[in-house]
């Protein structure tokens, strides 16, 4: 007998429209949850640290320089920088762009608060990414190297913000980044099942809004301090003592480093408009 199989619908015949769930298949759950988690720890934690550190600009160039010295004195600081800032940030950013461009925003049809926030999270994320790329390049990897010259930190930022366009970019990016972070915490709690109830979500919304506004105001105050509060900051408030680290036997250069850390505040504060030192 002929055993011709009846025509069966091909397994590859495409079903139109949105495809059904691929139950239990793929790794997108892991990647998506890592993206969500990395936004809180370590990136969000770093953002808080960064804004608090930058707030030292309120106390002047020397206080800021000391903060830079402190951060660069952390053990394994370059490892910390790559493992807890650059790599997670790059992952969060790239996967975030992938997420953003797979969504189909429809606020034009359904202009509801949550829908606007959905769109805002994607827009602020893209703004933050564009800003962070130039910020990391211009402030971390080009110009004066701050890990080696921490005393130049204040002046470096001040020169950057002397351009009114750059100042506008920093203000916009500060708002976008703190917005993205504070709504991100709210989303994290909602999506990980920490705040399932409507009232819990609403209450936590106020907490996140307060945190976001506080961080944003601290950041804007830091920008104000750099641009307006301490104009004409010295180029380097911790003058270089290159011999200090290579000649431990010589007592005087080391002493001068200590002195520059402790004594210079008096001189810089009494002469805030002194000419740049180097």
């Amino acid at each position: 007998m002929a055993t011709v199989a009846p025509p069966v619908p091909s397994a590859t015949s495409p079903q139109r429209g949105v495809q059904p769930l691929r139950a239990g298949q793929g790794n997108s759950f892991l990647w998506r949850k890592l993206h969500s988690l990395s936004g809180i720890i370590p990136i969000g934690a770093f953002l808080v640290e960064h804004i608090i550190s930058n707030f030292e600009t309120w106390n002047g160039p020397l206080a800021y320089a000391k903060q830079v010295v402190f951060l660069n004195s952390l053990p394994l600081v370059r490892v910390l920088e790559w493992a807890f800032i650059f790599i997670p940030l790059a992952f969060h950013a790239l996967y975030g762009v992938f997420i953003a461009f797979r969504g189909r925003s429809n606020v034009n049809v359904y202009p509801w608060a949550g829908n606007w926030m959905y769109l805002s999270q994607r827009v602020t994320g893209l703004i933050a990414l564009a800003y962070i790329v130039q910020h990391v390049w211009r402030q971390r990897f080009s110009g004066v190297m701050l890990p080696e010259h921490p005393g130049a930190a204040f002046a470096k930022v001040q020169h950057e913000l002397s351009n009114p366009w750059m100042l506008a970019i920093y203000v916009i990016a500060m708002i976008a980044t703190t917005w993205h972070f504070s709504y991100g915490i709210w989303l994290f709690a909602a999506k990980w099942g920490i705040t399932p109830g409507n009232r819990a979500r609403k209450r936590f919304g106020y907490v996140c809004a307060a945190l976001g506004i506080a961080l944003c105001l601290m950041g804007l105050a830091s920008i104000y301090a750099v641009v307006y509060k301490y104009p004409n900051a010295p180029e380097n408030v911790l003058p270089e003592t290159p011999a200090a680290l290579v000649q431990p036997a010589a007592a005087t250069p080391a002493a001068s480093l200590t002195r520059s850390l402790t004594v210079t505040p008096l001189t810089t504060q009494s002469q805030p408009r002194s000419t740049p030192q180097s």
Binding site: G17, Q19, Q121
Partner: protein
């Protein structure tokens, strides 16, 4: 001149046919809904410019927002045709035409009728049922406490209309997200004393590509749901359980 209701309907005669818009003017009657409006057109399928046309194809059954079949885009927004009242739609501007279109995220079968079988496939993928095959007597069902009943009841109101999926920015052919309705049904059946035997399988299914992780928490689903299901709460609760299950599986399987 007696008042008329102007209607503009996006039509296509088969899945591959070009989309055309036809205009109709229906004599006004008070208290009409969109399904009765479509019924009037079926009685007298003549367009506003006097051309005889085919009656509009659309899905409907119960006419009281309980079967879930008549979801469509009414003035651009996804809602049930049976509970969309003409007088309310036209309140303030009775001369403004009402626009009708098929749901935009499901393949069109004809006119306003779309193929929503992806929801049925998703419900099957998460085993949204109580596994009782009915071949022998299982005895009395396990006791269900009223507190559990009260939490489950709102979820059992789902009418599978797919409006939560239509309005979701994440439900599209790029993410192939499963949608809020299926996730809510997972919570419903996981909370059933007999249905909970499949709980782990459902949670593992929802961790697959297109699962709970694709939710962007825009919350359109819960705004648009005609039956007011607590969809965001269900997504939040189920996602937590999926995460716990994944961590548990990672260390113990």
């Amino acid at each position: 001149m007696p008042r008329t209701i102007k209607v503009e309907i996006k039509r296509q005669s088969n899945p591959d046919a070009p989309v055309v818009t036809e205009k109709f003017e229906i004599p006004y009657r008070p208290n009409m809904n969109i399904t009765s409006l479509l019924g009037e057109i079926a009685c007298n399928p003549i367009t506003a410019d006097g051309k005889t046309t085919a009656p509009i194809a659309y899905d409907s059954n119960c006419l009281e927002e309980i079967c879930g079949s008549c979801a469509m885009l009414i003035n651009g927004k996804a809602r049930m045709a049976c509970s969309a009242l003409v007088d309310k739609l036209q309140a303030g501007n009775p001369d403004e035409p009402i626009t009708l279109a098929p749901l935009s995220k499901f393949p069109v079968v004809r006119d306003l009728s779309v193929d929503r079988s992806v929801l049925f496939q998703n419900l099957k993928a998460v085993k949204a049922w109580v596994p009782i095959d009915g071949t022998y007597d299982l005895g009395a069902a396990p006791r269900q406490f009223p507190q559990i009943q009260e939490e489950r009841y709102p979820l059992s109101n789902c009418i599978s209309c797919t409006i939560c999926m239509e309005v979701c920015p994440q439900f599209n052919d790029s993410t192939n997200f499963v949608g809020a309705a299926t996730i809510a049904q997972v919570k419903l059946f996981n909370m059933d004393p007999a249905g909970s035997v499949l709980k782990e399988e459902r949670l593992r299914a929802l961790a697959g590509d297109g699962g709970v992780q694709e939710c962007g928490f825009a919350q359109n689903c819960v705004e648009a749901c005609p039956k007011q299901l607590p969809l965001t709460e269900a997504i939040s609760d189920v996602t937590r359980e999926v995460i716990v299950q994944q961590v548990k599986d990672f260390f113990t399987r």
